[in-house]
Symmetry: C2
Subunit: 434 residues, 2 copies
Amino acid sequence: MAYQYATLKVNGKRLNETLQSTCTSWGALPNSTGMRRLALTQEDKHVRDWIVEECKALGCEVKVDQMGNIFAIRPGTEKGRKPIAMGSHLDTQPAGGRYDGILGVQSALEVLRVLHENNIQTRCPVALIDWTNEEGARYPGAMMGSGVWSRTTSMETCYKTIDAEGVTVEAALEDIGYLGKTPCDYRENGLESYFELHIEQGPKLELAKKSVGVVTAVQGMRWFVVRVAGVEGHAGTAPMDARSDAMVTAARLIAAVKDTATSTGLGVATVGVVTNDTQAQSTIPSGVEFIIDARCSTDQMVDDLCTAMFKTFDDIVKKEDNKTSYHIVRSYGVPEAVFHTDCIESVRASAIAEVGEEKIMEMKSGAGHDAAWASKVGKSSMIFVVSKNGLSHNPNEYTSPEDCELGAQVLLQSVLRYDEGVKSGSILPYKSKI
Amino acid sequence: MAYQYATLKVNGKRLNETLQSTCTSWGALPNSTGMRRLALTQEDKHVRDWIVEECKALGCEVKVDQMGNIFAIRPGTEKGRKPIAMGSHLDTQPAGGRYDGILGVQSALEVLRVLHENNIQTRCPVALIDWTNEEGARYPGAMMGSGVWSRTTSMETCYKTIDAEGVTVEAALEDIGYLGKTPCDYRENGLESYFELHIEQGPKLELAKKSVGVVTAVQGMRWFVVRVAGVEGHAGTAPMDARSDAMVTAARLIAAVKDTATSTGLGVATVGVVTNDTQAQSTIPSGVEFIIDARCSTDQMVDDLCTAMFKTFDDIVKKEDNKTSYHIVRSYGVPEAVFHTDCIESVRASAIAEVGEEKIMEMKSGAGHDAAWASKVGKSSMIFVVSKNGLSHNPNEYTSPEDCELGAQVLLQSVLRYDEGVKSGSILPYKSKI
């Protein structure tokens, strides 16, 4: 039997109206299209409540797990099958945009709406997932919900994590009514496969004049906390050559992070957070801490980049000869994730059918995503659409209505093609690599 | 008539006990001899209330002016004379020590106690002054109280200045009961002269094995706020060569502040405060602000240092070629201050009498002090004693009990010698340089 849903279309107008109106209602920054919808806040609660109701109205069963991850499941025809899932996250950075994460969840809702109104019968159930705290902005530890679900992150540790006001994740989940009872564990609440539509968050598609990214992997990522220790002193009286100034040393190291990433060409490295213990105008800083975010295509390249960076650090501290010292703590890491052929090929076929071979680009994701954790315990892959000027984590983040629609359309088709593969027997159950 | 008080001594034990016990009671940091007694907080209120009561018990009239500056005045024998004042400040840095400022006020109290118990009759009144917000730590704008009193700073602007919680100086003064009615104006609440005992806050006396600094001037100082503007972006997806990273540029400029001060040898320059607008681990910083504190012996040298520094900034930003930009706002400045011969010679004679010529050192102050503002509108000078290891603005700041006693003794003698000069006619009234 030939593939029967080739002409089925998402409703782009409805998708874009839904995306914009829910952003305007819950978490919009004033005077811009920027968003501040931090995980587990009231803004997050409101949009969660809304999407749960929408999914129920479409006949979905809604489960909330112990980390607040939402699974809205539309039944399939074959008993005992796990869902083909589509998902992303509804939380944002403190000053983020309307597309990072949000597009993936709203497009999943649009797919459910299309399946519902066309009475499509899939063999596998089809699910929408909203993962908790993907951004790691309010609570450190990005991709927290999917990390626990894939058993790569400890739920107990996450529960105790606090925000700037000292509120724990567990208390925040309870407070907004999303401390669910479904086990947060892929072994007890598993998936057939997982597809995530996301904006690229980089400029590659746009620069190459391509429309759809067929994502085959997520690059490896590591975060390090670097603490430089000096000696506090008076800015007016300590001679320059008698100082042990933690800020000056930290400044040289921060510059070296960029210079090493650039000169080695191994990947990208960023210092996004700097804190100064003393923070007084006439005090020589005694302690400065900063966080390095390093990412490369492979774990080996991340290792090589970090080794080169820390060697440069040693040279700088030795040369500075101002008695400052530093130490490094690895705070977070996500190994490179390789997506599954069954999912990648479903996406590729769907993207080619929509825009043609010449408009697609096979690529790796520079950013971490919930799909990276999902790929550790099952089949998954991602679809990228264009980010204007490559901007993300920025109120000016923008993806055109046409590109949003295109992404949702490829998502719809990828899910249906995958289900077709299950029906035809060309797609076999997942075999764990572990 | 020969000088009659040469053998009069302060009570070093009492001075040191008073200094330590009041620090322990109001503002002590846990597990150290560090202090956190921010201006106009409850800790500041308690120590103010205490010193007001102590001065009243010694027969002083206490006036509080519109900026909360405390003037405790012991009457003299000649009607119409203005006071010979001794003072400093009781507030500290967020993590400061027990001597910076506090020693000067507590020694002034010890002098009043000695005059009182020995029934010394001075021709001029003798006053203790506690100046408000010398540190500029809770409220930006160091030497705020003396700045307004000397009419070099606007009281209206100071009243509106806010702390990190948005509380204004005026509200904080009212809250702790120190929004006084005495005009904060040297023309209406004037002094005959002003002496300030202070710790050196630098290593020069100790390195030269000297005991007392006879301070002849205060070096010029300027503060600049530098803002670097870049473009926010995603740390995982933006290629290194397509970034406009404000943190990297700021890091290079901060290093250049140190390098320019060192290479020109003109003075000292410090970056004590850095803030990052975005402060998120996976976001390329779009805006970073830092504050430069530059000080040299003369105003001309400050100008020359800043010119050299900003030229280097231009070169760096041009070379960086990452589309970041910067702009500089001069936020604060204190011109070099030259002390008055009458006061300097009173200090010199007193210091020589105590420790001998070979143990004194004529020096300029690297730090700003209330005495710098007082010198703009009247006669003033300072006495320095040893800071162990030159440390200050640091919980480990330390001056030995013997050096504290020595400083107070030189202060007592300087005041009495100055008064003697007034009696003998060798010291004439102040003539304004303006």
